[in-house]
């Protein structure tokens, strides 16, 4: 249109002490809640009812209803200890929540890379201005990946039923023909190999694309653009395969007998909408903090459309998985939903999950204005992130903890620890390079973006 304002494209994000403090407060609060959680659950296994009452008062999120079932579970636990009940120890809950959160945050960070790759693959110009923000998420991939691997080495027997050797031994009384048939995939070599290849691969692609992008800042021209485009295309193919396999071995194999052909998509959809919400929150936050002056409501609108569209996409995938299993009614398939729907505790989260991840963003972001106004979008994105955290909680916890699953300071604390680390590491990364890729060949299109 010709009459555009001049924007400063050389700005750099300063990770000032104010922002660092916010990240550290999140981290510190997380650690405090984590410690409270650990103390309370390790004491909860004992007989003292006083301690149990103490944990109940500390447990901010426990509902009144839970108190009753908690009491019942407590009594049951006492019996179980006498009867030599296999598998549950209070540390299992820590392993479960670590596994849950590392997968959740690994997803958010890899979606940052995927989002950038997608923009290059689709030749999208509008996102050139904000591209550095999702790009910086990639730095968290190795962090979450290492936590994931450590958790696996620490807690594989508790998290994954298939890791027990006796299941594969035909002479053993606990020999399981179905699991033995899955042995080519469900073994330590494949699991660890694939996990390392995926995490290293994602990080490797990120590293090379990022370096090209930073070199482009100094050089200009389109040479780097085409190189990143080639890399991005290969990354998208690699990510399509690796994210599916990762979801099978990391999450689907927790419910070892169960299988779902939708699961790769389901996990990807949940990751993607969470990642998009985090990107949107970062953009809104930076804009409110006085950065990214060139980002206008049209860019915000596009991000809002992404969050809206992929919330619906997630619902579509979620429901497609549910309906086929519900309708076919085959016991080996329905077990997954039976576990979640027959439990008083999980069924509440199950329905809450649909409301918070579908009805809320669908109705709240339906109008054009809601997607263009940062204040509304900010609330919706925040809620969507929490909602998908519960979605992953529901994928992992019922399979690992069975009826011992709970939501207390431990789970919230672990989430806050990861969130604090994420904010700190990504913030540092964001500050380490110019905030805007000023020599991106499509920068002009992004500056004049209007819809």
């Amino acid at each position: 249109m010709g009459h555009s304002k001049k924007f400063n494209l050389d700005e750099k994000f300063v990770f000032s002490s104010k922002f660092q403090r916010a990240a550290f407060i999140t981290l510190g609060l997380g650690i405090v809640l984590f410690v409270i959680g650990v103390v309370s659950i390790s004491a909860g296994g004992g007989d003292s009812h006083d301690e149990h009452a103490l944990t109940q008062t500390v447990d901010l999120l426990a509902s009144a209803q839970e108190e009753g079932s908690g009491e019942a579970a407590h009594a049951e636990e006492g019996d179980a200890h006498g009867g030599g009940h296999h598998g549950y120890h209070w540390t299992t809950r820590i392993k479960s929540t670590l596994w849950h959160n590392s997968i959740f945050f690994l997803g958010i960070s890899v979606i940052g890379i995927f989002f950038v790759a997608l923009q290059y693959g689709a030749h999208a110009g509008w996102s050139a201005l904000i591209k550095r923000i999702p790009e910086s998420f990639g730095i968290f991939v190795p962090v979450a990946g290492i936590v994931l691997l450590i958790t696996f080495f620490w807690g594989n027997h508790e998290i994954f039923h298939w890791t027990h050797d006796y299941l594969y031994d035909p002479n053993s009384p606990q020999y399981d023909e179905i699991i033995a048939g899955k042995a080519p995939v469900l073994n330590f070599g494949f699991f660890i190999g694939a996990t390392i290849i995926f995490i290293a691969g994602w990080y490797g692609f990120y590293h090379v694309m990022r370096n090209h992008s930073l070199a482009e800042d100094n050089e200009g021209g389109v040479k780097r653009f085409w190189k990143i485009k080639t890399l991005a295309t290969v990354f998208i193919i690699f990510f399509a395969v690796s994210s599916s396999i990762a979801s099978w071995i990391w999450i689907l194999s927790i419910d070892t007998h169960w299988f779902s052909t939708m699961f790769g998509w389901y996990v990807f959809a949940s990751w993607f909408v969470t990642g998009l919400s985090v990107i949107t929150l970062f953009v809104i936050f930076l804009k409110k903090a006085g950065y990214l002056a060139a980002v206008n409501e049209n860019h915000i609108h596009d991000l809002g459309k992404f969050v809206f569209a992929f919330s619906v996409f997630w619902t579509y995938i979620w429901f497609s998985q549910f309906l086929l299993i519900y309708y076919a009614n085959i016991p080996e398939e329905t077990i997954y939903f039976m576990e979640r729907l027959t439990s008083d505790y999980y069924s509440q989260i199950f329905f809450f999950n649909i409301v918070i991840n579908f009805f809320f963003p669908f109705l709240a972001l339906m109008t054009r204005n809601a997607k263009r106004k940062m204040n509304i979008l900010r609330i919706v994105c925040f809620v969507v992130i929490i909602g998908h955290w519960f979605d992953f909680y529901l994928m992992i916890t019922p399979g690992v903890l069975k009826d011992h699953g709970s939501l207390g300071p431990l789970e919230v604390g672990t989430f806050l620890i990861f969130a604090g680390l994420f904010l700190f590491i990504v913030g540092k990364r964001l500050a380490s390079a110019p905030l805007i890729a000023k020599n991106h060949p499509m920068m002009d299109e992004s500056l004049h973006h209007s819809i």
Partner: protein
């Protein structure tokens, strides 16, 4: 009954000149009837001062109607009128209703929107559009100004258009009695002549 319509047609060759022209012409108090462009021009609606369409509201209401109809239809059919056991499910099993509810929501919204659009834009089946200049479908932007709705004289408007870099300005009259034909005559014409250019576009 029907009056003949008199228009002044301005032909523009460049989209930026058209956009600035629209702003200048409106600033001088001339009311623009319509602008025809061969492709969508960004910001033209803003320049013409069009209000945002309320079609999304209509879409939501039609969609909500579809949802309600679908759920009540299925509840009445499989719950009340003819209950049948299918797959051991309850007669009214909401998950099974979702695909049909979704489809009917989309169907109602789509048909409702097409209908609303046709009614609001007066697109009747037998309506012959006023074609100002066929180059508007090719490489020129055509601006039409209704002389009856402007207080300025034809010469004055013509000068304003020329000042706004219109390549060509000419007057075009429509004999509306011929333009707004009777629906039955249209059908009769359709049967006898088929859809011909002369039948569709009387000029």
């Amino acid at each position: 009954m029907k009056k003949n319509k008199h228009f002044l047609v301005g032909v523009f060759g460049d989209q930026d000149e058209l956009l600035h022209g629209v702003e200048d012409i409106r600033a001088k108090g001339v009311k623009i009837h319509e602008v025809f462009t061969p492709y969508p021009v960004h910001h033209l609606e803003d320049a013409l001062g069009y209000k945002r369409s309320r079609m999304p509201v209509a879409a939501f209401l039609f969609g909500a109607t579809g949802t309600t109809c679908a759920i009540s239809m299925q509840t009445l059919m499989s719950g009340v009128d003819w209950p049948m056991i299918i797959g051991g499910k309850p007669f009214i099993s909401l998950p099974d209703f979702v695909p049909i509810t979704f489809e009917m929501t989309v169907l109602f919204a789509a048909f409702g929107m097409v209908g609303t659009f046709m009614v609001t834009q007066n697109l009747k089946p037998h309506k012959a559009p006023r074609l100002f200049d066929l180059r508007g479908t090719d490489d020129k932007m055509i601006m039409a100004i209704d002389l009856a709705k402007n207080n300025l004289s034809e010469e004055e408007i013509s000068k304003i258009l020329k000042d706004a870099h219109a390549e060509e300005v000419y007057r075009k009259d429509f004999a509306d009695a011929k333009n707004e034909r009777n629906f039955f005559k249209y059908l009769q014409d359709l049967f006898i002549n088929g859809v011909t250019e002369s039948g569709r576009f009387p000029r």
